[in-house]
C-alpha cells in the first residue's frame, strides 16, 4: 500500500536526485569561475532545500551533511572562504558522498556519513582552511558509472494519442484479415495473423502503461471519511481493500467524484447516528466497506454500509409524487426496478436538501459518469440493514467488447457490458399487448423491441412475427438501470473487440447510437446506445408504445 508517507519519500528522492545533478553541474562551472555569484547562490539554494526537506522526512544524516555544505557555501558567498584547492576538493567529495547517500537511500549503511569527510567539513567551517592535505586518504564516493533514472514521467495525453492510434491500427488489421479471407490469399493470411499478434501486444502494452493502482484514490478515502463523519456526527468503522487493483488512469479520474458522492451519501443518509444505532441493536460504529476487485477486463468497486438502507415504499411514493410513474403502475414494480428510480435525474428522497445532499440527489450524475465509460452501477438495499452500491467498470477505455448482429442486412453492435443474455426463443413465447411485445423470463415481464420495426416502423410490425415470421427469434436481453429490454435481431454475427468512435455532426445528436465502428469488411457499424434506448422504451414502465415517427 502506497500511503502518503511513501509518496512523500518518493517525491523527496526524485527531487533530491534531480537537485543533486544540478548541484554538480553548477559546482563544475564554479571551479572554472570561482567568483560567479549565480552558481554560488544556486548551489546554496539547492543545499538549503536538501537540508530542509531531508530533515522534514527524517533523513537526518543527509540533512546534516547538506547543512555543513550549505554553511561552507554561504561562507564562500560572504568571501570568508575562497573556493580553491584543497577546500574545493573536499567540497566535491562532500557532494559526491551526498549523492551516494541519495542513490542508496534504502541502505542504512550508505546513510552513515564518512566521519573523515565530516571532520574536514567542520574544520573548514571553524578554521576557514585546511591545514594538511587529506585528500588522498578520502574514500571515493563519485558514482562509478553514470546511471539514468529508470522511471520517466509521461503525460496522460500522450498515452491517449497512442491509444487512439492503436484503435486505428486495429480497424485496419481487421480489414486486412477479412481481405485475406475473401481473396483466399495464403500469404496475406500469414501476414495478417502476425499483424494481429503484434497489434494485440502493442495494445496490451499501451493499456498496461496507462494502469494505475486503485490506491491512488483509495488512500485518500480514510481522511475524507474522517472529515465527513465528524461533520455528520457519525461513528464510522471504515475498511478499505483492493488498493492494488489496477485500472486505467482516465477511468479512475472520471469515477473519483462518483465514488466520493456514494461515500458521502452512505455516511449522511445511510449510517444512523450512534444513539439511533444502539436503539436498533446495531453496533455503535457504522460499518463502511469499500472494496475493489477485478475480474478479467472489468473492475468492480463496492461501497457497502450497514446503515438504514433505502425504503422502497418511500421510493415508490416519491416516484409517483414526482411524476416518474403513475400510481396504478407503481405497485407492479419489483424491488430492484423501484430502487432504480434513485438514479433518475431530479429524483430525491430528501424532504429538505442538505449541503451534502439527500440520498438520490446527484445519483443521476453518478450514473451518467459510469455510463459514459461503458460501466454499470447497481444498488442493493435492505431497509433497516444497509445498502451496497456496486460500480462495474471496464478496466480500460479504448476497446469495447461488443456483440455484432444484423437487422435487414445492416450490422449493428451492442457493448457486452449492457448485455444480460442472448438466446434463441420460440416466437410463441412472446406475448402481445396491443402493438407491443413482451417476454416472461424468470417471472419478469420484459418489453421486447422488434428491431426491424424499430429501424423501419413504416414497413414492419412486431405483430407480423406471429403471423408469418420464423418459428424462432434471436433475442438479446440488454439491461440498464435494472430495467431490461429485449431486442429481436435478424441474425447474430459474432462477438468482437471494437473501437467505438464518437458520431460526428450532423448525426452526433442522435442519441440512439453511442458511436460508430468500422468492421473488418470496411462496413460502418452503428453502436446502439443502450442507456438511451432503455430510457425511451422502458421508462414508461410498460406497456411500451413505439413511437411511429422513429
Amino acid at each position: 500500500m502506497k500511503d502518503r508517507e511513501q509518496e512523500y519519500r518518493e517525491l523527496f528522492i526524485a527531487e533530491a536526485l534531480h537537485e543533486w545533478d544540478e548541484m554538480n553541474r553548477h559546482i563544475v562551472e564554479l571551479e572554472k569561475f570561482p567568483e560567479d555569484e549565480q552558481f554560488l547562490s544556486e548551489i546554496f539554494r539547492l543545499l538549503h532545500n536538501m537540508k530542509a526537506n531531508a530533515k522534514a522526512i527524517g533523513f537526518n544524516t543527509i540533512s546534516e551533511l547538506s547543512h555543513k555544505l550549505e554553511t561552507i557555501f554561504s561562507l564562500i558567498r560572504t568571501n570568508e572562504i575562497e573556493f580553491k584547492e584543497p577546500i574545493s576538493s573536499v567540497l566535491f567529495k562532500g557532494i559526491d558522498m551526498l549523492g551516494n547517500m541519495l542513490r542508496n537511500i534504502d541502505d542504512e549503511n550508505a546513510l552513515i556519513p564518512d566521519e573523515s569527510i565530516l571532520k574536514l567539513l567542520d574544520d573548514i567551517i571553524s578554521e576557514k582552511e585546511i591545514k594538511s592535505d587529506h585528500r588522498s586518504v578520502l574514500k571515493n564516493y563519485a558514482p562509478s558509472k553514470v546511471s539514468l533514472s529508470d522511471l520517466i514521467y509521461i503525460q496522460v495525453k500522450k498515452l491517449d494519442e497512442l491509444m487512439n492510434l492503436v484503435g486505428e491500427l486495429i480497424i485496419d488489421r481487421d480489414r486486412i484479415a477479412s481481405i485475406a479471407e475473401r481473396n483466399e490469399d495464403i500469404e496475406l493470411r500469414h501476414v495478417s495473423s502476425h499483424l494481429e499478434r503484434v497489434t494485440k501486444d502493442l495494445q496490451t502494452g499501451i493499456m498496461d502503461a496507462r494502469l494505475v493502482n486503485m490506491g491512488n484514490l483509495f488512500n485518500k478515502i480514510p481522511k475524507i471519511i474522517r472529515d465527513i463523519s465528524k461533520e455528520e456526527n457519525k461513528l464510522i468503522d471504515l475498511s478499505v481493500t483492493g488498493q492494488d487493483i489496477q485500472i486505467d488512469r482516465n477511468i479512475l479520474q472520471k469515477i473519483t467524484d462518483a465514488v466520493l458522492h456514494i461515500l458521502r451519501n452512505a455516511i449522511a443518509h445511510g449510517i444512523e447516528k450512534p444513539e439511533e444505532r444502539i436503539k436498533r441493536n446495531k453496533p455503535e460504529m457504522g460499518s463502511l466497506e469499500i472494496t475493489a476487485h477485478s475480474d478479467k477486463d472489468i473492475v468492480i468497486i463496492e461501497v457497502r454500509d450497514d446503515g438504514n438502507g433505502i425504503d422502497v415504499e418511500k421510493v415508490k411514493k416519491h416516484a409517483v409524487s414526482g411524476n416518474f410513474i403513475s400510481a396504478d403502475r407503481v405497485n407492479d414494480l419489483n424491488e430492484k426496478e423501484a430502487l432504480s428510480f434513485i438514479f433518475e435525474p431530479g429524483f430525491s428522497l430528501s424532504d429538505k436538501i442538505t449541503e451534502v445532499s439527500g440520498r438520490g440527489v446527484g445519483l443521476d450524475i453518478v450514473k451518467n459518469t459510469v455510463d459514459s465509460i461503458g460501466g454499470k452501477v447497481e444498488v442493493i438495499s435492505r431497509f433497516g440493514k444497509g445498502t451496497t452500491f456496486r460500480l462495474i467498470l471496464p478496466n480500460s477505455i479504448a476497446l469495447t467488447g461488443a456483440l455484432l448482429f444484423e437487422v435487414l442486412k445492416v450490422p449493428y453492435a451492442i457493448p457486452l457490458i449492457h448485455i444480460e443474455s442472448v438466446s434463441r426463443i420460440p416466437t410463441s413465447h412472446l406475448h402481445f399487448v396491443g402493438k407491443s411485445a413482451f417476454i416472461e423470463i424468470e417471472k419478469e415481464t420484459i418489453p421486447v423491441l422488434y428491431l426491424r420495426e424499430f429501424f423501419n416502423s413504416g414497413i414492419y410490425r412486431v405483430s407480423e412475427l406471429v403471423v408469418d415470421g420464423d418459428l424462432t427469434q434471436n433475442l438479446i436481453i440488454v439491461s440498464y438501470n435494472n430495467r431490461k429490454l429485449g431486442l429481436i435481431a435478424d441474425a447474430l454475427i459474432r462477438q468482437q473487440e471494437i473501437v467505438v468512435k464518437p458520431l460526428q455532426n450532423p448525426i452526433a445528436d442522435i442519441d440512439l447510437y453511442s458511436g460508430v465502428t468500422v468492421l473488418g469488411t470496411g462496413e460502418v457499424c452503428l453502436v446502439l446506445d443502450v442507456p438511451s434506448m432503455s430510457r425511451q422504451f422502458s421508462i414508461k414502465r410498460n406497456p411500451v408504445e413505439l413511437n411511429e415517427n422513429i
Binding site: 526537506n53 522534514a56 472529515d227
Partner: protein, 124 residues
C-alpha cells in the same frame, strides 16, 4: 474558517507537503509558485487571502517578493515558511510586514495553528 491560499516554495516536494496539509485542513489552494516571478503573477491574478512564502527562491528572495506585494496590496497576509532560522532574518521579515514566520521543518499542527491565529486576527 476556509481560506484561499497561495503556496510559494522552490521545492516541489515542499509544495506538495504544504498543499496536502492545507487542503486537508479545508483550505483552498488557489495557486502554487516555484519562483518569485510566478508568485507575484499569481498573487495578483488569484487574489489569495494568504500567501505561504519561502525565502530562498531561484530568481529572487522571499523578502523582495514580500515588499513588492505589500507595495501593491498592503493588507495581504503573508506567512514566511523557511528553513532559514536566524533571528536577524526572522526579524527582518516581520518588520517588512510578514504576519508570521514558520521555520522548516515544521510541525503540521503548528502550521495550521499559526494560520488560524493570523487569519483570526485579520478579522478583528
Amino acid at each position: 474558517m476556509k481560506h484561499k491560499i497561495l503556496v510559494v516554495d522552490d521545492s516541489y516536494y515542499m509544495r506538495v507537503v504544504l498543499k496536502n496539509l492545507l487542503s486537508d485542513a479545508g483550505h483552498e489552494i488557489v495557486g502554487e509558485a516555484g519562483t518569485g516571478e510566478e508568485a507575484l503573477k499569481l498573487s495578483e491574478s488569484k487574489d489569495p487571502d494568504l500567501i505561504m512564502l519561502d525565502l530562498i527562491l531561484p530568481d529572487t528572495t522571499g523578502l523582495e517578493v514580500l515588499k513588492v506585494i505589500h507595495a501593491k496590496k498592503p493588507d495581504q497576509h503573508v506567512i514566511i515558511v523557511s528553513a532559514v532560522g536566524q533571528d536577524m532574518v526572522v526579524e527582518e521579515a516581520l518588520e517588512n510586514g510578514a504576519d508570521a514566520y514558520i521555520v522548516k521543518p515544521f510541525n503540521e499542527e503548528n502550521v495550521l495553528q499559526v494560520i488560524g491565529e493570523v487569519m483570526s486576527n485579520a478579522k478583528s
